[in-house]
Every structure is written in C-alpha cells, then in structure tokens.
C-alpha cells in the first residue's frame, strides 16, 4: 500500500505545482501551436494532401511538444536538490517512476486533447465518427512516449547538455511509436475499417507493455547509486 501512497503523493505534487505555475503546460501548448502554424504555412494543402500528411504532422508536433514536458519533468526536481531527497527516501523507486509517468502522461495527453480541435479546424478534417478510436490511439501512443520519456528525463537531468541529449537519446528509441501512431491515425482519419489498422494499436500495446516494465526496472538504477 505504501507503494501506491508514494505514487499518489508524486502525482499530487506534480499536478498541484503545475496547477499553480502552469509553466509546463503553457510552454508545451504554445510550442505546439507554433509548430502547427509553421506546418500549415509550409505546406499549402488541399483536402487530399491533408489526408496524406496530417497524421505525420500531428505526431511530429506531439512528439516535440512531449520533449518539452519530459525535459521539465525532472529539471524541476533538480532545483534545491529535491532529487537527492527523493533518492534518500525509503521504499521502491518504482513508485516515483509510476507517479512521474502518470503526471507526464496527464500533461501530454491534456495538451493533445486541447490541440487536436485546432488541427481539425486548420486542416479541415472529418473526424466525427472515428473520435473514440483516435482517442484510444492518442492514449496508447502518449503512454509509450511517457513511459520511455520519463526514464530518459531522469537519465539526462543530471548531465551536461541535457536539453540536447534528451531528444537525441529518446527519438531513435520511439521510432516504433511514431510509425504506429502515424499509421493508425492516418487509418482512422481516412475512415478505413478498424481491422485495417488494428495491428498498429497492437504494436503500441506491445511497446507500452514492454517499456513500462523495462523502464520501471531500469529506473531503480538511475535513481539509486
């Protein structure tokens, strides 16, 4: 029970901090907004081209936005040596990891849900019927990104050049998430039958499961000397 209590405390602390400062969410949100605008200026798209490209654009925007949130996740703990206190507390570090994953997931998912209507408006998308499937895709892909991302956020926070190293280390590893998310989103947006892109959701599920376990286990070695 102590395990879940600690997880709850970490989530409570991160959400409360975010609620008061709105620092992470607002920077993620505006960054993503700028990315969307730049994309829509860079490609002058008709309806058909939009169908082809939009899934890629969405996930590039979300992945880079996620980097900002993940980068801040442990940078906050570095102020005032809070990380040392977390390390010195009794109990499994896995609880800290799950708490942080939950918080990061919440931030990223919230930003995605706020931003998605903008894509719909700016690129004239038709999503009314597939909305629940899109939501599922967003959930699973964001889960994968935050599972690995939280581990790498902790890994890079105490090194030099951490702002650069986080994307350099993280992006090659999340290639499967990006491929699966883009393909599934493309399928959902173009109104294909679910069976055609079901395999991508399965891939996301495998990735999420594998990396939740591996990261959970590896997090101990990052936090504990």
């Amino acid at each position: 029970m102590g395990f879940f209590k600690i997880m709850q405390w970490v989530v409570w602390k991160d959400l409360l901090t975010e609620w008061r400062s709105r620092e992470t969410m607002s920077s993620m949100f505006f960054f993503a907004l700028i990315v969307i605008l730049v994309f829509s200026f860079s490609f002058s798209m008709d309806q058909q081209a939009a169908q082809e490209l939009i899934a890629g654009i969405i996930w590039v925007a979300f992945a880079f936005t996620g980097m900002i949130g993940l980068g801040k996740s442990f940078a906050v703990e570095l102020q005032d040596d809070c990380l040392n206190y977390l390390q010195g507390c009794p109990g499994s570090k896995g609880a800290l990891y799950l708490g942080k994953v939950t918080a990061n997931f919440a931030f990223m998912f919230a930003v995605e849900v706020i931003l998605f209507p903008m894509f719909i408006v700016l690129f004239n998308l038709n999503v009314i019927e597939e909305f629940h499937i899109l939501l599922l895709i967003f959930l699973m892909a964001t889960m994968g990104l935050s599972a690995v991302g939280t581990l790498f956020s902790a890994l890079t926070v105490q090194i030099r050049a951490r702002e650069v190293m986080l994307p350099i280390l993280l992006l090659p590893l999340v290639v499967p998430v990006m491929i699966a998310a883009v393909e599934a989103t493309k399928g959902a947006l173009s109104g294909d039958s679910f069976a055609l892109y079901r395999q991508w959701l399965e891939l996301l599920a495998i990735f999420d499961a594998v990396f939740m376990v591996v990261s959970f286990w590896m997090f101990e070695f990052i936090m504990d000397e």
């Binding site: 090194i159 030099r160 499967p176 891939l203």
Partner: protein, 245 residues
C-alpha cells in the same frame, strides 16, 4: 613493482590477446583469398556479390558487438566492476564502428543490385537506429563527470536500446509491407556452398577481429583512465600543498 598496480585481467589480456589477433588475421586472409579468388561469381549478381563477404560479416559482428555491450551492461549493473564498464565502453565504440561500416558497405552493394543507395527496409532502418543509439551512448558518456554514474547511466541506455531494436525491426517491416510491397525486393542471395565457405571464414574472422579489438580497446580505456587519474591526483596534491604552504 609497477606491474602489480595494473589490473590482473588487463595483464592476462596483454598475454593472450595475440592469439586472437593472429587467428583473426589467418581467418580473414583465408576468407579474402577464397572469397576474391577461389570462388565462383554469384549466378544472379555476378562479381558484385563478392561484396557480401565483407558486408554480411560486418553486419553480424555489429550485432555481436551490441550483444556484448548488452551483456556487459547487465553484468556491470549487477557487479559494479569498473573493468566491465571499460569493456562496455569499448564494445559501444566498436558497435558504432562496425555498424557504420556495415551500413556503408550495404549502400555500396545496394547501388548496383537494387539501383538505390538506400531503402527504408527493416534491416537497414534498425541498423541506423542501432547506429544512432550507440552514438547517443558515446555522447552520453562524455557528458557525465562522475565515472560511476557515467557507467550506470550508460548501462541503462544500452539495455533499453537492446530491448527496443527488435520492436523497431518489426514495426518497420509492417510499415514497409504496407507501403512498398514490390519495386525493390530485398531477396537475399541464395547461398550455395561455394559462397558459404568464404562467408563463414570472413564471419568467424571478423568476430575474432572484434574480440581482439575489444581487448585492445578495453586495455586502452583502462590504461588511459589509470594514467589520467594518477596524473590528476599528483596535480591536485601539488595544488593542495601549494595552497597550504
């Protein structure tokens, strides 16, 4: 005697590594002779197929090198032996080198056979991800000052990357079958026994060469650290004595 200060394993390597180097040289020279001179050209690809004798062993060896890195990383996290960490560091550098060379020779082979330097094939993509991971690994190590933490973080990265590679491979395979099922087929060369002998010789030789290089590089990293530390310590003692007087 100064020799006793050097790690026992490093001294053992110094004594026995020559056998590996010699065996590697023998295997590879025999492989080159058979592959370039004493074997017939491939039926489909002609003489160009001889690139296989250098490309395929390089690719095998880079996977072997990364497996060594993965095993070493687990071993390090378990035993925390700095020498194992030196071995991992060495293996990572060699993984990057072998992967890069495998990619380059693969591109040179791809141009005459498929008329394209590059395709987003599953094998190529997972190799480039492997290259990016090992380069990231080497960069990560240069950005951490505390050697113990450097070793620990690097080990974690290597393990996570190793788990990721098969998933990358499968995801790209699915993605490829969805998009470009025809055009460039990645049909491997049908292996006849005439091709198999030089291929085996070169593969074994390259693996031996890798183990030899791993030994040399581990020694190098260990000795460089050792000398740096001793010099640094003398230097800091010098400064302290100056500051105190």
């Amino acid at each position: 005697m100064n020799k006793t200060m050097i790690n026992r394993v490093i001294r053992k390597i110094q004594r026995y590594k020559g056998w590996f180097g010699g065996a590697a040289a023998l295997c590879m020279m025999a492989g080159l002779y058979v592959g370039l001179l004493a074997s017939p050209p491939d039926y489909y690809q002609g003489e160009v197929a001889r690139i296989m004798y250098v490309h395929v062993p390089l690719a095998h060896t880079s996977l072997l090198a990364y497996t060594v890195l993965f095993g070493g990383s687990i071993w390090y996290l378990w035993k925390r032996d700095p020498l194992v960490d030196n071995m991992c560091h060495a293996a990572a550098g060699l993984t990057a080198l072998f992967t890069l060379l495998a990619l380059l020779t693969g591109m040179i082979w791809g141009k005459p056979t498929w008329n394209a330097w590059w395709t987003w094939d599953a094998r190529l993509t997972s190799f480039i991800v492997l290259l990016l991971i090992t380069i990231g690994y080497l960069m990560l190590r240069t950005f951490i000052d505390d050697p113990e933490r450097e070793a620990r973080y690097a080990a974690v990265l290597a393990i996570v990357g190793f788990v990721d590679l098969p998933i990358v491979h499968f995801s790209v395979e699915w993605w490829r079958t969805l998009h470009q099922p025809q055009s460039i087929s990645m049909r491997g060369v049908s292996i006849s026994s005439g091709l198999l002998i030089p291929l085996m010789l070169m593969s074994v030789g390259m693996s031996l060469l890798f183990s030899y290089m791993l030994m040399v590089r581990t020694q190098m990293l260990y000795l460089v650290n050792l000398l740096d530390a001793k010099k640094g310590r003398l230097l800091s003692q010098f400064h302290l004595s100056k500051a105190e007087s």
